[in-house]
């Protein structure tokens, strides 16, 4: 199933509603391709996916209400719902809401952490607070998520104000894709930062989804 990045950014993704799915994974649109790839690789036919618009990455204050609304919407259709968000800038509010809704979520502060693996990221990130991270999705959608919202398309002179304290761009790659590596290098150049390539694969996303226990 090919999913369109612009659609994932603006609208998210509807659940397919296939017959064998018992658990709905409710995810950030920025993770759609990775989660669908994991479904395919692992033949997780018991899982279905729906995504909220990836642009909530820029407006984390919208995530909690949107998750609640979607859980209420899908609760009668699926026997179980799993939230494929980490804290993601909600300051603990998403975790509280998930407890209230009695649904599980991914552990960790954000996708950069769980894609690298929360334990590893907790160790490495202490020494790289001046790193700016991009995932596969954010490399593909660099203009939509970085350049345009920050006004850098109209005012490139603001780059120094936004990124002057950063010392590198870390591209956390989920897939091995030469075209994306080249694009990441272009992104780094635009921001005036050196690029560090780091293949993460799916990190804790894979193990977390594999560990979803179907409740009776």
């Amino acid at each position: 199933m090919l999913v369109d990045d612009e659609m994932l950014t603006e609208q998210g993704l509807d659940a397919s509603g296939h017959d064998s799915a018992r658990v709905l994974v409710l995810a950030c649109g920025a993770l759609a391709r990775e989660i669908l790839a994991l479904f395919k690789i692992n033949q997780w036919t018991h899982l279905d996916l729906t995504c909220l618009p990836a642009k909530y990455h820029l407006y984390p204050e919208k995530i909690v209400d949107a998750v609640e609304k979607a859980v209420i919407q899908y609760r009668s259709i699926y026997s179980q719902i799993f939230i494929a968000y980490a804290d993601c800038g909600t300051g603990g509010l998403l975790e509280e809401k998930c407890k209230e809704l009695e649904v599980e979520m991914i552990a960790g502060p954000h996708c950069y952490s769980f894609l690298e693996g929360n334990e590893i990221f907790a160790m490495t990130s202490k020494d790289e607070i001046t790193a700016f991270y991009l995932t596969d999705f954010l490399v593909r959608q660099f203009d939509a998520f970085i350049i345009k919202p920050l006004g850098l398309d109209r005012h490139p002179e603001l780059i120094e104000m936004y990124f002057g304290n950063y010392t590198k761009l870390v591209y956390q790659a989920q897939s091995k894709d030469c075209a994306l590596e080249i694009k990441a290098l272009e992104c780094a150049k635009k921001l005036g930062l050196p690029l560090e390539y780091r293949f993460t694969g799916y990190g804790d996303l894979q193990s977390t989804l594999a560990g979803i226990k179907i409740s009776n």
Partner: protein, 232 residues
Amino acid sequence: MSDEEDIILSELSDDELVPQMHDDLYDGMKEEIVEAVNILLERGWQPYDVLTKALVEGMRIVGIDFRDGILFVPEVLLAANAMKGGMAILKPLLAETGAPRLGNMVIGTVKGDIHDIGKNLVTMMMEGAGFEVKDLGINNPVENYIDELENGDYDILGMSALLTTTMPYMKVVIDTMIEKGMRDDYTVLVGGAPLNEEFGKAIGADAYCRDAAVAVETAKEFMAKKHNQMSA
């Protein structure tokens, strides 16, 4: 807000030039602001009047439109950059001419956080409002704040954070101030995108400031209260 026609700033009267400067600030036109500041100074304006009537008033308008969702961060940054150009000329002159001082503030982004756009805006607006501000920069451990407070003559501590992972560090600083018995000597203001009033209260700050304009008004209110208490 910019006109299509070229405007010769030096040909404008004072009454025309000041509103034009508000427009130029709004449009982030740094060169024009620098030129206009020099024109007003050449006309005998006091640096403090140039600052308050032209620059601060212009930024106040920018702040209102930012709050109301008419302007966005990039435009505010351009306006701030223009004001910075004007401030660079005025700052040494303000020190020489003994402009009124409302109070002293130390400000910094907390440990683990390198984001300083909001902090820099607050610093500039506080300076524009008549506060002396010591900027500790980014990624400050608690020791930086405490050392500066202990060795300086400050009224206000400002802390900034952009990340949900770093904002709890503000409590570490406040708790350390309590341990050292110095918390009540200062007004503690906190700010940053993921914060809110509830968080500010929970960590024991005096106030959460939504934006730079609110920070200035809040600081003024606390300074007024302090003076009233001292004179009572």
